[in-house]
Point group: C2
Chain length 311, copies 2
């Protein structure tokens, strides 16, 4: 058995996972304010111990998914939590002495989908998560591919030169157009341009009530402005996915994140149509399966648990 | 020792390569018209035998780089030569009975650079070749990564949505802007817009005398129109390379093809400046080395020879 820990931007989660990837027991708590890494390590060890409970003796290793960069047993940095060069493995083991494996959270999610989700049985998988940004993870022949450590920054491929500025420093990054936040921004712009749109009724004109599903909802009710937004969003999403398919030609490309729960006919089907038509393999050769990620919010913790198995 | 064969669009080349990747002996002839695959197999076997000469008994395997897609011992199709589903391994072995490994030519070039060129000693390499199109090959931990078989179509990532139509079916593909042909087209367009440009003098106004080096040459002599073309070219080249670095974060990204022979300060240095500034790893983490490919036209035959070693 393996323990998986998912350090999210909002929640901490620990889970006990068996050989088949089944999540047997979980512990979850809000991240809250993290000022002291030693304290975080102690909390994580406590949660892991609680998730393992009476099975602790059977646990072979602990995997930890971190929203940032890791190297060996060290968290190099994280995006949301102020941590830089934290020797997390050592800190954690002072509380719970088991082999510890650190990984990037998007990589862990991809590993989870590879072993027991949308990629089960495949040899190469690319998993993308449409959220605030676009996370990406790649698993080839059972191993996370990370290059020099930061591979998979799929959200930061430019799809619109000179386009919307991105905090990363470039302009026109994919995640400015095809993430949930990108869709939200485009929906808001459509509202500003179309005072007659149903989007106003649905949101009450409030930015806080606008989310990744709003445009799809209004489009289903026939709103023209919303339809146009969805069309634009799908084009951008498909443009980036086709790029990934042409570069990596994986057996499976899994799409996760809240937006991936949109109805098949509204999102996945039109995206697939564009990718199938535009990808290089359309000229012959096997086609990448573009599918919905299956593990939802559990992908991270399951994948983290599998870190020990794949290294 | 290993035999490598490079089936190019213009020439056929066979070479004998030792364990260290040194090319000991080569045979080269023009491709000519290929109507019969059996005849091509016989020619290739003859060239291989000639390259091996008295060392034939020491040859462990034959690798073959093909401009197209392969699967096992079969050439699925090639772009320039009319071949579809050709059982090349069987055909070749009926003339020279050695283990045969087929690979894509861009993959072979990457493998050559990985083992004994720009990537010597590294763990992950992406090699791109700026020619008629942009070829791409990836080698991770000594193995060619090919996904479902057609990975590495880096030239067909869209960098300019709605841009120049590409024969692949998409619009705005990277190779329409950053290949040698793309540069040639942009140079010609600059000539049409600038009758006063030095480009007219250098080329005598003839399309045939225009090549990937023309704009760089005129720019060095101070021609404004040519400078603008070079600037645009470098921006597009760097945009795609930064995308690749963000996605794959390889230890080495090697640039090959005729254009890569431009002076360091005209091409590689400005490209590197943009990539270093724009890549995600600029925020921390190790940086990809963006370098010139070192093996030139030999990369394909050396890499093909190494196919047997890496499988």
């Amino acid at each position: 058995m393996y323990l998986g820990i998912d350090i999210g931007g909002t929640n901490l989660k620990a889970g006990l996972v068996d050989e088949s990837g089944t999540l047997l027991r979980t512990r979850k708590e809000p991240l809250g304010r993290v000022s002291d890494p030693e304290e975080l390590a102690a909390r994580l060890a406590g949660m892991a111990r609680a998730a393992a409970a009476e099975d602790l003796a059977q646990v072979q290793s602990v995997g930890m998914g971190v929203p940032g960069a890791v190297e060996g047993g060290t968290i190099v940095y994280t995006c949301n939590i102020p941590m830089k060069n934290i020797p997390m493995e050592r800190m954690f083991r002072s509380h719970l002495d088991l082999p510890v494996h650190l990984g990037n959270d998007a990589d862990c999610a991809a590993l989870g989908e590879y072993h027991c989700g949308a990629g089960k049985g495949c040899r190469s998988l690319v998993a993308i998560t449409l959220g605030t940004g676009i996370g990406g993870g790649m698993v080839f022949d059972g191993k996370i591919y990370e290059g020099l450590g930061m591979a998979g920054e799929v959200g930061h491929m430019v799809v619109e030169p000179g386009g919307v500025p991105c905090p990363c420093g470039r302009r026109g990054c994919w995640e400015q157009y095809a993430s949930a936040s990108g869709l939200r921004r485009m929906t808001w712009e459509a509202m500003e341009a179309h005072p007659e749109s149903l989007l106003w009724t649905i949101t009450g004109g409030k930015w806080e009530r606008l989310n990744g599903g709003t445009a799809f909802k209004a489009a289903r009710r026939g709103d023209e402005a919303a339809r146009a937004v969805c069309g634009t969003y799908i084009r951008y999403l498909a443009q980036g996915i086709t790029n990934l398919v042409n570069l990596l030609h994986p057996e499976v490309l899994a799409i996760g994140g809240g937006i991936s729960n949109e109805r098949e006919e509204s999102l996945l089907r039109p995206v697939r149509e564009i990718v199938d038509r535009e990808c290089y393999a359309s000229h012959g050769g096997r086609k990448t399966r573009v599918v919905k990620a299956l593990l939802g919010n559990d992908a991270g913790v399951i994948g983290a648990a599998f870190l020990g198995r794949s290294r």
